[in-house]
Each structure stands twice: as C-alpha cells, then as structure tokens.
C-alpha cells in the first residue's frame, strides 16, 4: 500500500484546518501551534483521493449495452432495407439505440453507440459495402446528428440519475438523522444514547470499531465504545475528516505520526478515522473508528453517517453540559436559600439563649455588684438552662448537616422499640409538663431494624416537638404496631394540630407552621426534617396527619428485624452441668435466618 507523501505544506488552509484537531479550542495563534506540531510530529499529511470513478463492472455493462443496442438496431435496419420492405434509408432506427443506450448507460455509452452505429451502417448498409468510404454526405450528417443526440440524451439521463441518486442520498441522510435524533431523544441519558449510536454506526458502516472520546475539563474520557472494556486502539495513521464551512465537500486527511504513543507496538495495517465534534465553535471531542488502512477515502455513505453522528452527538453533549450547569446553578441557588434560612434561624433562635447567658455571666462577673448566694446560684442555673437549650439547637443543626452531607452511616441492629421509647420519654418528661402521656407498645411487637442512636433521636425529636407545639395539658400518646413487615410508630398529641395544607411541608427544613401568640417561634423548624432524614436513612419513612386526639399525628415507619429464636429452655433448678455451659456457647445455637 502506498502512501502518497504529498505534504500539504502549500495548502495552508488544509494544514491549518487539520491541525485544529490537535489544538485545544480557543488557541489564539493557530498557525504558530500548527507549525510546531506539524514539524515536530507529523511526518506526512496526505489528502486521501476520492474513490476512483472508474468501475470496470459498470464499463463492461455499458459496453455490452452498446453492442447489444447497435446489433439490435442493425438487425432492424437490415430487415427494413431488405427487398421485402424496401425502405431506402432506415438509418434513423439507430437513433432509437442511441437514445436508449444513452439514457440507460450515460453520455459516453451514447457517444460510443452513435459512433458504432455510424460505422456499422457505413460498413454494412451503404455502397460501397464493407468499406468505410463515405460516398453520401448525408451519412456524415447522420453521424453528426447521432453524436449530438447521444451527448444531449446522455447528459439529460446522467442529470436524471444524479438527481435520483441525490434524492436517495438525502432520503437516507434524513433517515439517519431522524434515527439518531430519535435515539438521543428516547434514550434515558446521554451515555445510553451514545452507546446506541456507536452500535448503529458499526452496523451500518461496517467499521471495525467505533468510539466516542469526549474532552471534559481538559481530560479525555470515552463516552461510548462499541467494544467496551477493550483498550483503545492506537495507530501511527490517523485519518481525519476536515470540514470547511460552506459548500466545500469534506476531505479526509491522513497524518502519519510514527512517534505516536504506542504506535510502534500497535498494528500498522489499521488506521484510525477521526471526526471532530464541535459545538458553538468549541471542541467537544471526537468520533473515532478503526478501519483497515486503505489508500482511498472511506465510502461516501460512511463519511456522511460519521459526520452526521458527530454533529448530533456534539449538540447532544453540549445540551447535556448546559443542562448539568443549569442543575448545578439551581442546586447552588437552593443552597444559598438554605444558607440564608439557616442564618435567619441562627440569628433568631441561637442568639436568644446566648443573650441570656451573657446577661447572667455579666451579672456574675460585675465587680461592683455583690450578689447573694441565692442570686449567684440562680444566675448559674440560668446559664446552665440556656446552654442546654443552645446545645439542643446545635445538636439539631449537626444532625441535619450530617443527613444532608450523606454522612449518615446507620449501624443497623435489631432493637426493641420499647427500649428506645421509654427512656426517651423519661428523659424528656420535664419539658412535657403536666399532661397525660400514654405509651401503648404491645409486648409481642417484633424487633425493629434500626440504629439505636438515630432511633433515639427520632423519638426524642417527636416527643420534643409535641411538647413544644402542643402545650400541656394536651395529651401525648405513643403507640406502635407491626404491619406488612414494617413497624409503625405513632406519636400524636391533642394540641392545636397542623392545617391539612401544611402537613406535606411539615418535614421540610426550616418549615414552621405559622402561628400567632406566645411560643409561636421556638425551635429551628428542623426537628422534623431530621426525623425524616434519619428514618429514610434507616430504610423507613414518615407521614403526618390529623390525630384522633385533636392535634398532629406523626407516623414513623421502619422495617422489622428478623426475630431471633428463643434459645434453649431454662435450666432453672438443675445443677450446673457441662450441658448447660455448652448450651450457652455459640456452637450449639440454632441456625438463624440471615437478616
């Protein structure tokens, strides 16, 4: 295989165009870069010739057509000029052949038919026969007319054929375009669409392997590959499609770079086809394919499909990037909203206890004031109380930030929900004040699967929430039931409740039900957000609704844990034996169902 070492030094536009492939988008001095790259690496740069027009098969068919046409016409002429019919000059019959052959096989076949017809007629049917002497000038006129007709008909039919071919080409192009946009529109994401397009290209072009390299933040990543997992092929020969703006046809330019990374070890019989993908004038990546190295251009069909795919993919990738940027901007915006809400909450709720603490501390440290022992103690107690309140708020914020950061790593265990609820209620009893508290947790409740610390926080937050927003003597009721493999823990109160339209937002951060009157603004409004975050982190969920007690009812749903089987029956009253000891060792424990 010969490489035509026609270096394109003279064709600046071509070189510059081609070398844009190597240059990152936006380089100001393209020429400077191109020359450097060109001299340093590329030893040859060749514009691949178009596929040769000469196709022996077609010529053969045209020749056969010509011969057949002339022969048929000759037979007809012979018949017409025979004494039976006795038409003196039947030579116009050849016109039929010329027209037919010319329209069917093109201009050159038509001209050949015209000349052959003239010669045959001259040889066979005019005096003197079997010689090429033209006695009658009329015959020369015939020849000129035949030739003229052949050229005209040939041109016309060629034009028709070209138009037909063009129409077919456009149809297939728009089909391919439609198919690709369809893939891009239907596929769940860009990656899936790219994979499908790559597979389609392999199927339709017969290329060995097609892949898409995308340039993202200076790094090249493979978006899709028809042979995923295989190493990306390297070759010293890279053939790139150079498309110039306007109507100029695309050109394939081959570069030979013997020093290409890994080229020496790779197969030299193949080359890499590369079609640049760009959108808004910026380089996005390249559509690449391998094929057996050939001197000619890839077929036009292949070129067209690759170019189309590259354009569509470039647009899709760009769209994807824009969408991602928009999403990020939206997240950032929401983050800002969150931050300002947090700042707002901090300024209102965290400062109140701080102000009390500073006031009390100021009183204690004032050298001009002599406090009685009782006053000192009560100032200290105030500081302690406010500090505890501050601690609770900070704790809530920390819980929330852990949930938001995805830092929740629940340590899931089988827990008896009674062991969680009872201590939490005991702990918070002081803030519940004087109110009836009902705890209804059936003895046969299966264990719940959860993290002891997180579950404790959930129950604590719910009880605290009820204590805060349903002031005593509103009753508080906690109950639990097992249902369809889930434990439903219900915390409800007899407080003022929450309007139905607000219940959906109850678990949003910083959401506080609008309320008037004393105590309307207490807490950060993140206690329930934490409850939801923690419950979801343990594979559960939450819901809110009106309670039969008149207030709010919150249901936390968590998965049931497998119940451990009871171990061996009691050895009560029996003497200590080796058997009893063995029963307590792990080996004799009955097999457990995996969790």
């Amino acid at each position: 295989m010969t490489i035509r070492r026609r270096l394109c030094r003279g064709d600046n536009r071509l070189v510059a165009n081609w070398l844009r492939f190597e240059t990152p988008a936006g380089t100001a001095d393209t020429r400077a870069v191109t020359d450097r790259v060109y001299h340093r690496r590329v030893t040859s740069l060749v514009q691949l010739p178009r596929r040769p027009v000469f196709e022996p098969q077609r010529v053969l068919i045209a020749a056969v057509g010509t011969v057949a046409g002339v022969a048929a016409a000759s037979v007809v002429v012979a018949a017409l000029e025979s004494p039976l019919v006795a038409i003196a000059d039947a030579s116009p019959v050849y016109l039929v052949s010329v027209v037919l052959v010319g329209s069917r096989f093109g201009m050159w076949a038509g001209i050949a038919t015209a000349i052959a017809s003239f010669l045959t007629y001259d040889l066979l049917f005019t005096e003197p026969r079997f010689s090429l002497i033209v006695a009658d000038p009329r015959e020369l006129l015939d020849l000129v007319l035949f030739l003229f007709l052949a050229v005209v008909v040939g041109r016309l039919s060629a034009l028709g054929l070209e138009r037909a071919a063009e129409a077919t080409r456009r149809a297939s192009e728009s089909n391919a375009l439609f198919a690709m946009s369809r893939i891009l529109a239907i596929a769940p994401d860009l990656e899936a669409a790219a994979v499908e397009i790559v597979e389609r290209l392999v199927r339709e072009t017969g290329l060995d392997r097609v892949w898409i390299a995308v340039l993202r933040t200076g790094q090249t990543t493979i978006l899709a590959d028809s042979e995923p997992g295989q190493p990306i092929p390297v070759s010293a020969f890279t053939t790139s499609l150079v498309r110039t703006p306007g109507d100029a046809p695309a050109k394939w330019v081959r570069s030979h770079d013997p020093k290409a990374a890994g080229a020496a070890s790779s197969e030299t019989r193949s080359e890499i086809l590369r079609v640049r993908m760009e959108a808004d004038g910026a380089l996005i990546g390249a559509l690449k394919a391998t094929r057996v190295r050939a001197s000619g251009q890839p077929p036009r069909e292949t070129t067209r499909l690759l170019a189309l795919a590259a354009d569509q993919l470039a647009l899709a990738i760009r769209r994807d990037e824009l969408r991602r940027e928009a999403t990020e901007a939206e997240i950032a915006r929401q983050g800002d909203t969150l931050k300002s809400a947090l700042l707002d909450a901090v300024s209102h709720d965290l400062r109140t206890p701080l102000a009390s603490i500073r006031a009390a501390a100021g009183a204690l440290t004032d050298p001009d004031v002599t406090l009685t022992d009782d006053a000192t103690r009560s100032a200290g107690a105030a500081i302690d109380l406010e500090a505890q309140r501050l601690d609770r708020l900070v704790h809530e914020v920390l819980d929330l930030s852990r949930i938001e950061a995805g830092a929740l790593r629940p340590d899931l265990e089988a827990l008896d929900i009674r062991d969680v609820v009872e201590p939490a209620v005991d702990r918070l009893r002081p803030m519940l004040g004087d109110r009836p508290v009902t705890i209804d947790l059936p003895d046969d409740l299966p264990p719940v699967r959860g993290d002891a610390v997180l579950l404790d926080t959930i129950v604590g937050n719910l009880v605290e929430n009820a204590g805060r927003y349903a002031p005593a003597p509103a009753p508080l009721a906690i109950s639990a039931a097992a249902e369809h493999g889930r434990i439903r823990l219900v915390v409800e109160d007899g407080g003022p409740g929450v309007p139905a339209q607000s219940q959906a937002q109850l678990f949003d951060k910083f959401y506080r039900v609008e309320r008037t009157g004393a105590g309307s603004r207490r807490g950060l409004g993140i206690g329930l957000a934490v409850v939801r975050g923690l419950a979801e982190g343990m594979g559960g969920g939450v819901e809110a609704g009106p309670s039969a007690l008149g207030g709010l009812r919150i249901v936390v749903e968590l998965p049931v844990a497998a119940t451990p089987p009871a171990d061996a029956p009691s050895s009560l009253g029996s003497a200590p034996t080796a058997g009893a000891e063995a029963a307590a060792s792990p080996g004799s424990e009955p097999a457990r169902t995996p969790r």
């Binding site: 302690d384 500090a387 601690d391 704790h395 920390l398 852990r402 340590d411 899931l412 265990e413 089988a414 827990l415 008896d416 009674r418 062991d419 969680v420 201590p423 003895d443 264990p447 993290d451 002891a452 610390v453 579950l455 404790d456 844990a561 119940t563 451990p564 009871a566 171990d567 061996a568 029956p569 009691s570 050895s571 009560l572 009253g573 029996s574 003497a575 200590p576 009893a580 029963a583 307590a584 060792s585 792990p586 424990e589 457990r592 995996p594 969790r595």
Partner: protein, 223 residues
C-alpha cells in the same frame, strides 16, 4: 473547659494534676500515678486512645473519657481500649463528679461470694445452681439470658460495651448474634421486671444508645 473542671473538682476535695497534651499526660502518669484519669479524646497532639492503651498496659487505674456528642465510634473505641466510662460533652459538672465518684468507689469486678452468690440490688444469682431470683421470686431465664445477667451483675456501676457483652456471653465468634443483643437484653429486662413487684430493677440495666449498657450500683440511689 479544663480550668472550670479542675477548679470544681479541686473545690470538692480532689487533688488534680493537669496535662494539656498526650506527652505531658504520659509524663504526669509516670510521675504521679493518679487514682483516676479524666481523658479528653480531642487532644491537640494525638489520639487519646494511645493514652488509654498505655495506661491499661501498666495498671487498672480507672479512666473516664470525655468525648464529643455524635462520636459514638470514638467512645466505643476508647472503651474497647480499656477506658471505664465516658461523659459526653457538653456535660454538667454535677454529672461529671457523680461519674468520678462512682469510678473511685468501684472495687473492680465482683466475683461470686464464697457461697457462690452474686447479687446486685434485689437480683441474686446462684452461680452454683444457675438460679436467678428477684426479691426472692425465681425468674425463668434461658442460658443466654442467664449469662447476660451474670456478666452484668459482676460489673456493678460499669459501662459494658456491646462487644464486651457479646464476647462474655457468646464468645468471640458471635458474628450475627451481635445484631440481636438488644433484643436479648430487652427480654431479660422484661423478665426481671415481671418478677419484681417493687419496681426496683427498672434502672438496673440502662441502655446507652450506640455504646452498650450501664449497670447500676448497689449503693447508688436510683435515678
């Protein structure tokens, strides 16, 4: 914070030696051999756990760990390394003093008395006959529950981590059972409560979420 803790403990009659980092803590340990060590896990120059391990190699001196809230893993690690108890920051000084006093009172694990009886509050275990009673009422326990109770009663006033209980009752190869420890303890507590008319066992075993169980002291007034 160290200043107020030191001042408060000193005011309550303890002699306190301060150390600001791991190096000086270990120096004080060598020089003073204190009766109890209060250790903040958030030391500036390293891991408080190394202090715990070093002290445990040489002595059984009680170690009370101070740790931040939410750092359950650190707490458990320190307890596993040999610390005896922990207090979560922020804490009240009264709570801290109570823990310090409890640790100083503690005389190590109680073995069975010569008659083979282990008792704590109203609960008594007859180690020889494998019988548990609450205020004289026998309790029907499975072998697991019996072992759990025995381990707990042998460590009054102690904080028992989950891992420690599992090792004591199930042996080292407990694997999956670990997830069920809470359920076993829960059953045990309910059986004790059912046999206990006076309601004295209620606070005998207190769950410390994420860490383990705290066992009440006999002398300590119930909360």
């Amino acid at each position: 914070m160290r200043r107020s803790v030191v001042a408060n403990l000193a005011a309550h009659g303890y002699r306190v030696v301060e150390a600001g980092d791991v190096a000086s803590a270990l120096r004080s340990w060598d020089a003073e051999r204190p009766d109890l060590i209060l250790l903040d896990l958030g030391l500036p120059d390293g891991d408080g756990g190394s202090v715990v391990r070093r002290v445990r190699r040489e002595s059984t001196t009680p170690i009370l760990v101070l740790s931040a809230r939410g750092a359950e893993r650190d707490k458990v690690a320190a307890l596993e390394a040999g610390a005896d108890d922990y207090v979560t920051k922020p804490f009240g000084l009264a709570e801290l003093r109570a823990r310090v006093a409890a640790l100083l009172r503690r005389t190590g694990g109680q073995a069975a008395d010569p008659a083979g009886m282990v008792s704590l509050g109203p609960v008594t275990l007859d180690v020889v006959r494998h019988v548990a009673t609450v205020g004289g009422t026998p309790v029907d326990l499975t072998p697991r529950e019996y072992e759990l109770l025995k381990t707990m009663l042998s460590n009054p006033g102690r904080l028992l981590t989950k891992a420690r209980l599992l090792r004591a009752v199930w042996g080292t190869a407990y694997a999956d059972e670990g997830h069920y420890l809470h359920v076993y303890v829960s059953r045990l507590r309910r059986k004790l409560a059912a046999a206990d008319q006076a309601g004295e066992t209620r606070d005998l075993i207190v769950a410390e979420p994420g860490v383990g169980y705290r066992i009440a002291e006999v002398e300590r007034p119930r909360r």
